[in-house]
Structure formats: C-alpha cells, structure tokens
C-alpha cells in the first residue's frame, strides 16, 4: 500500500511556543484516520501545516507524493480541506461559489461539476440564493461541496461535524469520511462517532503524538515523560 501522507519531524513554533513538536507519521493511501486530543493539542495547527496554510518551522512532509517544499501546487491540487469556517463567499450564491472554486482549481467543465455537487449535498434547490441566507448546517454542506470540487485524493478535515444535523452527518459520512479510495485525516472531538468511520486514531498531546491505535498509520510515539514535560 502506498503512503498518502508522510510527516517527518514536523515542527511548528509561534514565537517561543512550540505547537507541534517533531511529529513523525505516515498514513497509507485510502486510510481513514481520526486526529484526537484536547483543545490546544495541535490538531488544527497540524492540519494548517499539511494544508500549506502555515509554514512548518522544521521538518518536512509530502502528500500524495508531492513534497511541500518542492511541489506545493501539486500538493494543494491533491488535498481537499474542510476547516472551522466554511470558507465560502456570503454574497455569492452556492452555484457561484462552486463555479469560482472549480475555475480556480482548473476543473474541466466546472459548471457540470458544481451542479452535480450541489445535487449531492442537497443544495440544488437553493443554488441561486445568496449564501448568507443559508443556515449553519447548509453552509457546512456547501463547504463539503467546495472541498470536493476538484476531486481530491486526500481530505484534511477540522471538526467536520460542526453545525450538521442527522441528515447532514449522514451526508458527511457518505461524501467525505467513508469516501472510497480517499485518504482522510480528520480532527474531531466526537470520539463516539469515530468508531463508525475511522480505521485508526492518532492522539496528540502538547504537539506530540501520544498514542496511535488501529491500522493504516505508522507513527513515532513520544514517551509519556516527553509528552508531559
């Protein structure tokens, strides 16, 4: 099985504070991995670094074979990101939002792709309304469609359940968390739900990997003394 995400001693410091501390981990292609840990453990920072939104202070990583330092554009083309905020334009309609992102990613026939995704996330009937009038859950559905617009091979998700009702959660499971042949790394606090979709669980504590459970992940686990220090 090939490696989808490879992190080598990944470190992130903000000023004098080390938020990620030499995280070394590899995730197999197609694996569904839950990233857990208390608030401030470094989950969002790890996803931001992997998404190239924040530069690593030290270490290196590659996604889908694209090294971040040498081929950032190729890496970005391989990933779909769902963050805390839906990252969509409130003054544009759902259809205009997806058309724009499809164009930005160079998706062929972006119009058809946008329409198909709006159908899949249940926003087709509201495609011409300004996004600002949609509910929080519908924003999240649109964010799911945005993350999928370029058909990424790796999904980086930061608390993807936010704002979703039961129907929305089912959609999230079907489109993202259980998507076949797509690698998923999702930060979550909903530990009970991870049993439904995750094959592995990586736990962060103070920026270091404290524990790894399940299959599809190889990681350097810090000793308890090192993590507590």
């Amino acid at each position: 099985m090939s490696t989808a995400i490879e992190m080598r001693a990944l470190t992130k410091r903000y000023g004098g504070t080390t938020v990620l501390d030499r995280v070394t981990c590899s995730i197999e292609a197609g694996a569904k991995v839950a990233l857990t840990g208390a608030n401030g453990a470094g989950k969002s920072t790890l996803l931001a670094v992997l998404g190239t939104l924040a530069a690593a202070s030290d270490g290196s990583f590659a996604i889908a074979g694209h090294e971040a330092e040498r081929d950032a554009a190729g890496l970005r083309r391989s990933i779909g990101v769902l963050a805390h905020s839906p990252m969509v334009y409130e003054e544009l309609t759902p259809l205009e939002n997806l058309r724009f992102f499809a164009r930005l990613y160079g998706v062929e026939d972006g119009e058809a792709r946008a329409s198909m995704l709006l159908e899949r996330v249940g926003l087709w009937r509201r495609r011409h309304e300004p996004t600002r009038v949609l509910s929080r859950g519908m924003h999240q559905r649109l964010a799911i469609a945005r993350a999928l617009v370029h058909d990424p091979r790796v999904l980086l998700l930061d608390e993807p359940e936010t704002g979703l009702d039961a129907e929305g959660l089912a959609l999230l499971d079907a489109e993202l968390l259980r998507a076949p042949s797509v690698t998923v790394l999702a930060a979550t606090h909903q530990l009970a739900r991870t049993a439904e979709w995750a094959e592995a669980r990586v736990t962060l504590h103070r920026g270091r990997i404290e524990a790894v459970e399940g299959t599809g992940v190889m990681a350097e686990v810090a000793t308890r003394e090192a993590v507590r220090r």
Binding site: A48, G51, T52, L53, A54, A55, A73, G74, R76, R77, I79, V81, A83, H84, S85, P86, M87, V88, Y89, E90, E91, L92, E96, F100, F101, R103, L104, Y105, G106, P130, R146
Partner: protein
C-alpha cells in the same frame, strides 16, 4: 491567467453586491472636493494651479479607504485561506485583486474628475490626464493592496493602512501632481514626470507582487 481572471471576475461581482465600501470611498471623495472648494475658496482662474494637488490627495485618501477592505472581508469570512489552498501561484491571486481594485477606483476617479469639472468650471478630462491617473492608480493600488494584506489580521487595521502606505506614496503623489500640472498646461518644471510616475508604478507592482507570497505566509 485563468486564476487571475477568476479572482477578478469574483471580486468585481462581490464589489457590485457589497457596494457600501466603494460608495463610502466615492462619497468621501465627493465631500473632500467640496471641502477643498470651501476651504480654499476655489473659484475662477486661480483654481487651476491648485487642482492637481486637490485631485491626487483626494484620490489617495479615497483609494486608501477603498483598498483597506481588499483582504479584510476575505479574512473575516475565512475565504482568504480558501484562496491560499488553491493550486495557483499566489501572485495570480494578488494580480486579480489589484486589477479589480484598479477598475473600481478608476470609476470613482473619473466620477471625481467629472464632478471637479462641473464644480470648478475647468476642463479636466483629457487623454493625457486619464493616462497619468490610470498609471498612478495602478501604482498606489498595487502598494495599498499589498499593505492591506499585512494589516488584514490586525485589530487596528483602519489606522495601520494609511500610516504604512501614505509615507511610501509620497514620491507617487509628487510625480502624479507634477504630471497633472503638465497635462493641464501649468508650469511643471523640466523633469519627465509621467516617466517617473511609470517608474514608480513599475517598482511598486514588481516589489508588491514579489512580496505578496511572503506577506501571506503564516
């Protein structure tokens, strides 16, 4: 090129739907002209030598107000990160933003020139003057758009942008005023002011385009 066009089209659409920012800048520019007219008693033939300075100061202040929102809205909505996630050169995102801001500001500036023409009874619309204004606008928009990126995540951004940008724009202001003097057939000295305006604009464009990827790095 496709990314530049996509950002340009999206930004123009957003500017049209979210007009309050640009209308504020246009209203500010119109009120500034009226204030200058009353403060300096700008009537008759005496007004002509003062017009270049009045116009450019109005353009710079209105432009600073308008450009301050260039990235603030994106940061507040989280869409700035969505742009940065796209597999396109970050300079392309910057170019799209600059083009959209330039087009919107040029529309405001032409309206200001028409208003000044009526208010001061002086002919201001000429091809040479429009060229100078266009070149100068590209120069200061490229710089203020970059600086608005730096200030977008700062709480005191409304103050930060003018404080950072206006000192840097002094050479452009001098060249713009002098080039406008020449376009209005006023004494402007022997220096090639339009050429200096072009040089400043090129410097500003190239430096800002090179610095933008570093400015957005976290």
């Amino acid at each position: 090129m496709s990314a530049v066009a996509a950002v340009l089209e999206k930004d123009l659409r957003l500017l049209w739907r979210h007009r309050s920012g640009w209308l504020s800048a246009a209203t500010f520019a119109a009120i500034s002209l009226l204030v200058y007219a009353f403060a300096f008693d700008l009537v008759g033939d005496e007004v002509r030598p003062l017009l270049p300075g009045v116009l450019w100061v109005t353009f710079l202040f209105a432009g600073t107000i308008a450009c301050s929102r260039a990235f603030t809205d994106e940061v507040e909505q989280g869409t700035f990160d969505a742009l940065l996630l796209a597999p396109v050169p970050r300079t392309a995102l910057y170019a799209g933003k600059v083009l959209a801001n330039c087009l919107a500001l040029l529309a405001v500036e032409v309206a200001v020139m028409l208003l000044a023409t009526i208010l001061f009874n002086q002919t201001l619309i000429s091809p040479v003057l429009l060229l100078d204004v266009t070149v100068g606008t590209v120069g200061y928009v490229s710089l203020t758009t970059l600086l608005s990126t730096l200030g977008a995540r700062v709480r005191a951004r409304e103050v930060l942008l003018p404080v950072l940008s206006l000192p840097l724009l002094v050479p452009l202001l001098i060249a713009g005023v002098r080039a406008t003097d020449a376009a209005l057939e006023l004494p402007a000295g022997s220096a090639p002011w339009t050429l200096l305006l072009v040089v400043f604009t090129l410097w500003s464009l190239i430096a800002s385009a090179l610095l933008f990827p570093l400015a957005v790095e976290r």
